[in-house]
């Protein structure tokens, strides 16, 4: 199996605060890796360092063995890395369909083609498929801002898949999503993983969601990696139990 993403000794300090303090792990092709940990343990900072939103104080990020540390978010995205944010980030003024087209349009054609070519940038069919896949047909032409929270979360995830990414980093995809929607979301993510062969890294608070979705889990505490292993191993790890019960 090939390694898609490699994080080596990543550190991010804000003044005296060590938000991320030497994190290393690797993500294999096709796996779903979960990252869990208490609030403020540096998960989101880690994501932002991997994705070029923040520049790490130390350490390296490698994509397919090639160093990409500090590359701008849009450059990483064009190399097939896509993400969702912890807080909901759809474009409320655009329709569901247009949100999806936007998510794909920069990955093909030239600037000139995007100006003079068709309005949907030739992505109409792809958007339609994605809408069908995430079962948003009845909402395709509704303003994204008018959707329910759970529906927006689905759209948010769908946008991350529009460009056919190889690696998707999901920051709390289940946060605030109600139970019925949650099952739907998990099933869709799993199907996406199987069908499109995309590799996932998922930050999540919802333990059941992570344990049932992910093949491996990284546990973080105070900016460091506490444990890495399969869900079963993690459940049995005394350090993890201690950290979670101790805090």
């Amino acid at each position: 199996m090939r390694t898609v993403l490699e994080v080596e000794g990543l550190k991010k300090h804000f003044g005296g605060i060590r938000a991320v303090d030497g994190v290393s792990f690797a993500v294999e092709e096709g796996e779903i890796l979960g990252i869990i940990g208490p609030n403020g343990c540096g998960k989101s900072t880690l994501f932002n360092c991997i994705l070029g939103q923040l520049s790490p104080t130390e350490g390296r990020v490698k994509l397919d063995g090639e160093e990409v540390t500090g590359l701008a978010p849009e450059a990483l995205n064009r190399r097939g890395v896509s993400r969702t944010f912890q807080l909901l980030q759809v474009f409320p003024e655009l329709t569901v369909r247009e949100n999806l087209i936007l998510a794909g349009q920069e990955h093909q054609g030239s600037m000139l083609a995007r100006l003079l070519g068709p309005r949907d940038a030739g992505l109409g069919a792809a958007a339609e498929r994605m809408i069908g896949f995430f079962r948003l047909q009845h909402l395709a032409d509704a303003r994204a801002g008018g959707l329910s929270y759970g529906q927006q979360k689905l759209l948010d995830a769908a946008m991350a898949f529009m460009a056919g990414p190889r690696l998707v980093l999901l920051d709390e995809p289940a946060g605030g999503v109600n139970l019925t929607m949650l099952g739907d979301l998990k099933e869709r993510l799993r199907a996406m993983n199987a069908e499109a062969g995309a590799t996932f890294v998922v930050i999540e608070h919802n333990m059941d969601f992570v344990m049932s979705l992910c093949s491996r889990v990284v546990v973080m505490a105070e900016g460091r990696v506490l444990a890495i292993g399969t869900p079963a191993e993690i459940r049995a790890n005394p350090a993890v139990i201690d950290a979670y019960l101790g805090h």
């Binding site: 474009f91 369909r97 936007l102 995007r114 070519g117 309005r119 109409g124 032409d141 529009m162």
Partner: protein
């Protein structure tokens, strides 16, 4: 041509509103073609001025309303366009069309030069860099007498010919301005509904998310600013032959402020907003001329009140009323 192409795409919602824009532009142009008949020279002149200013406001609407960038140099770019056209046509005898294109291209290039360093740092620094630029341009226009005529300005700017037809008369020039305005408005309409327009909007709403979707923030931001500036250049190139005499005063910093107010008054981010904004900012004052300087106070106060009550401007207000009327229907486009 474009309305046919768009009719076949499945997307609706936003689409419908945009076709409304197209229809309004074409119908409005048709009406304006005939309106000035019997209006007299001055009335016709005011209508032409309205259209010229609408072009400048359209450009700023792209920069501010769609891409969310504060530019305080729109009047300065308009000045550059006006002086470029005036100088090229009077001193070098170049024809108007070439001067028009050079004015726009020059402003586009200057926009890139100005925007690149400012946006490299931080988006809101563009406001201060353009503020500085605006004042510098004004200083050059005022001081370099050998070139710009200083405070005495440049006069005897010729009006263009249209396929051999002279546009010296007020009505002929009005119609000429109308055609150019329509072309520029339709070009912008096309751009806004293309994937570029979607990217501009994404840039304004949420640049971080846009970047994570592969939208090249710097390229689109610079393009929005440079194209907005080019429209100011185009407006200037029409302004010079319209008034036939130019001096530095209409291109001062306060004029750039005024253009921003017009964008907001009409409805920032709405394609028809600039026409309404320029109507309020240009035509209304001309009609209120007898009140002396008071119209400026009235206009600025109206904008402040509008901003407090409805930051989406007049078009936003109209849209809000329209949606309220057909409430039970699906309140789609915004």
């Amino acid at each position: 041509m474009s309305s046919l192409a768009s009719a076949t795409t499945p997307s609706r919602g936003l689409m419908r509103r945009i076709d409304g824009v197209f229809l309004t532009l074409v119908l409005g142009a048709a009406i304006l073609w005939f309106v000035p008949i019997g209006m007299g020279r001055y009335g016709t002149y005011v209508l032409s001025l309205w259209m010229v200013m609408s072009i400048a406001v359209m450009g700023l609407n792209l920069t501010l309303g769609y891409a969310g960038l504060k530019s305080l140099a729109q009047a300065a770019f308009m000045g550059i366009g006006a002086y470029t056209t005036a100088l090229l046509t009077t001193k070098l005898g170049l024809n108007w069309y070439a001067s028009f294109l050079l004015s726009g291209a020059g402003c586009f290039a200057l926009g890139l030069v100005l925007g690149f360093p400012a946006l490299r740092v931080k988006a809101h620094y563009l406001a201060f860099v353009t503020l500085a630029f605006s004042t510098l341009v004004w200083l050059v226009l005022r001081n370099e007498q050998w070139l710009t005529g200083g405070v005495f300005g440049l006069s005897n700017i010729p009006r263009p010919t249209f396929f051999g037809l002279k546009t010296d008369g007020a009505l002929a020039f009005h119609r000429f301005t109308l055609v150019i305005t329509l072309i520029l408005a339709l070009a912008l309409w096309w751009m806004i509904r293309s994937p570029w327009g979607r990217a501009f909007l994404a840039l304004r709403e949420n640049p971080i998310r846009a970047a994570s979707l592969g939208v090249n923030i710097r390229t689109y931001t610079l393009l929005a600013f440079a194209i907005g500036s080019a429209y100011a250049g185009f407006a200037g190139a029409l302004y010079a032959p319209l008034v036939e005499f130019i001096d530095p005063s209409p291109f001062a910093l306060s004029a750039s402020f005024f253009l921003l107010l017009m964008v907001v008054a009409g409805g920032s981010g709405y394609q028809l907003g600039p026409f309404v904004g320029a109507l309020l900012g240009v035509v209304l004052p001309e009609w209120l001329r007898f009140t002396g300087g008071i119209y400026l106070i009235v206009f600025a106060s109206i904008v402040v009140m509008l901003l407090i009550a409805c930051p989406q401007g007049v078009i936003g207000l109209v849209e809000r009323g329209w949606l309220a009327l057909r409430r039970p229907g699906k309140g789609g486009a915004a």
